[in-house]
């Protein structure tokens, strides 16, 4: 499904420079089109990082408010989606750090998630251990793991969004997976 979304996005990308020009000229319809084209994917990633619907909504809004206010600075060197993801990741990591009550919201969220996990046939213990292991990762490793293994981004997309070489991205993913394996080792022996 992700690949389909990317293909559709690529097809629409031909019109993107025109759309951006129209947004900069104050065209509300073009702004909405741009938002509709990118918001679902941005929201998905932010939700995976934030883990809370309200927080994800707030951070997605902040991402687009910033993006629209800085759209004049977008040079087109990278794809707009890459540029948006860069903003989204920065906004999300800063937002998650600043909002202390995020952790207070985790308990009900965990309960809500466990319902979905049970339905999908994944052991709740594995899910909990995995969630804690992911949350314990440093930001750079966590974002890389979530983008690649959870959301299905390519190394190229992740490297562009994080502004690091692809090799760094692969190293980070490898380190993140090692920590996940380590965290799940006791569970796997049971």
């Amino acid at each position: 499904m992700e690949r389909t979304a990317i293909a559709l996005e690529a097809a629409g990308a031909l019109d993107e420079p025109v759309r951006i020009e129209r947004v900069l000229a104050g065209d509300a319809k073009a702004a909405r089109e741009l938002y509709d084209a990118h918001a679902p994917r941005v929201y998905r990633l932010i939700f995976r990082l934030a883990g809370d619907p309200d927080l994800a909504q707030e951070l997605t809004q902040e991402t687009f408010v910033r993006a629209f206010s800085r759209l004049g600075d977008f040079r087109g060197d990278a794809a707009l989606s890459t540029w948006l993801h860069r903003i989204a990741i920065s906004v999300s990591l800063n937002g998650i750090r600043k909002i202390k009550r995020f952790h207070e919201r985790e308990a009900p969220l965990e309960q809500a998630e466990s319902i979905g996990i049970r339905l999908s046939g994944i052991d709740p213990d594995l899910r909990d251990k995995l969630a804690h292991a992911i949350e314990a990762l440093p930001d750079a490793l966590r974002v890389t793991l979530v983008m690649h293994d959870v959301e299905g981004y390519t190394h190229g997309e992740i490297a562009a969004a994080l502004e690091v070489p692809e090799g760094t991205c692969k190293t980070r993913l490898s380190a993140a997976r090692a920590k996940i394996r380590q965290a799940l080792a006791p569970f796997r022996k049971e």
């Binding site: 702004a31 687009f64 998630e113 995995l130 293994d149 959870v150």
Partner: protein, 218 residues
């Protein structure tokens, strides 16, 4: 990456299920983005996105003029036409109306503006207090309608008056925020709205303008 870095299928499946996102609330987020962009702009620039197309403004002016003319005209001009009569020839009153001065033609807009301001004052006065439960869908819908009217009035002759224009611009901001309000328990949004109301002295100014227009019309 080596094979040693690979993860097993169970872990991979669990990773895919990690924090499965719900459907993104696209409309709700868009309203929030619009409201925040509006709030961030200087007063003089708040209309770049909310700008109403010229044809719509003209149509709105016509609709407002025709609608309020039904009761504005009999007050100003003697010999009103019977309400149900279809008069092919321009009536005396209509011919008289066509030569009214610019200042007199503003009066219908004052009537429309007065009605709009009254409704807006009522809505903002009834703004839910924190923790009082869900915001009624009708409440948000009314805010959206009033927001649209605000934008139309800003492009009408009613928006030519600098003070009224400033008030309409402030109301545009507040109504956009109210229209995007999801829950009365949303403390931050309510704080933002009440902060905007207080900071710009919106309600007293609103009530003052309503009173002025009411007295002028008496």
């Amino acid at each position: 990456m080596s094979e040693h870095d690979e993860i097993d299928d169970t872990t991979r499946a669990a990773l895919r299920a990690y924090r499965s996102p719900p459907e993104p609330p696209l409309e709700e987020m868009w309203r929030g983005i619009e409201a925040r962009r509006l709030a961030a702009r200087p007063l003089s620039q708040r209309r770049a996105w909310g700008a109403v197309p010229g044809w719509l403004a003209a149509a709105a002016a016509l609709v407002i003029g025709l609608g309020i003319g039904r009761y504005a005209m009999p007050v100003r001009i003697d010999a009103p036409a019977p309400a149900e009569t279809v008069d092919v020839q321009p009536s005396v009153s209509m011919r008289d109306a066509s030569v009214l001065s610019g200042a007199q033609l503003d009066v219908p807009y004052e009537v429309a503006t007065s009605r709009y301001l009254g409704q807006t004052a009522a809505l903002l006065t009834a703004l839910p207090s924190e923790g009082s439960g869900q915001v009624d869908a009708q409440f948000s819908a009314q805010a959206r309608d009033l927001l649209q009217t605000t934008r139309l009035l800003l492009d009408s002759p009613a928006g030519d008056d600098p003070d009224l224009r400033a008030l309409l611009s402030d109301l545009e901001l507040v109504l956009a925020q109210v229209a995007g309000l999801r829950s009365a328990g949303d403390r931050e949004e309510l704080d933002l709205i009440t902060g905007a109301l207080e900071q710009r002295d919106v309600l007293p100014r609103l009530q003052s303008v309503v009173a002025q227009i009411t007295y002028a019309g008496d």
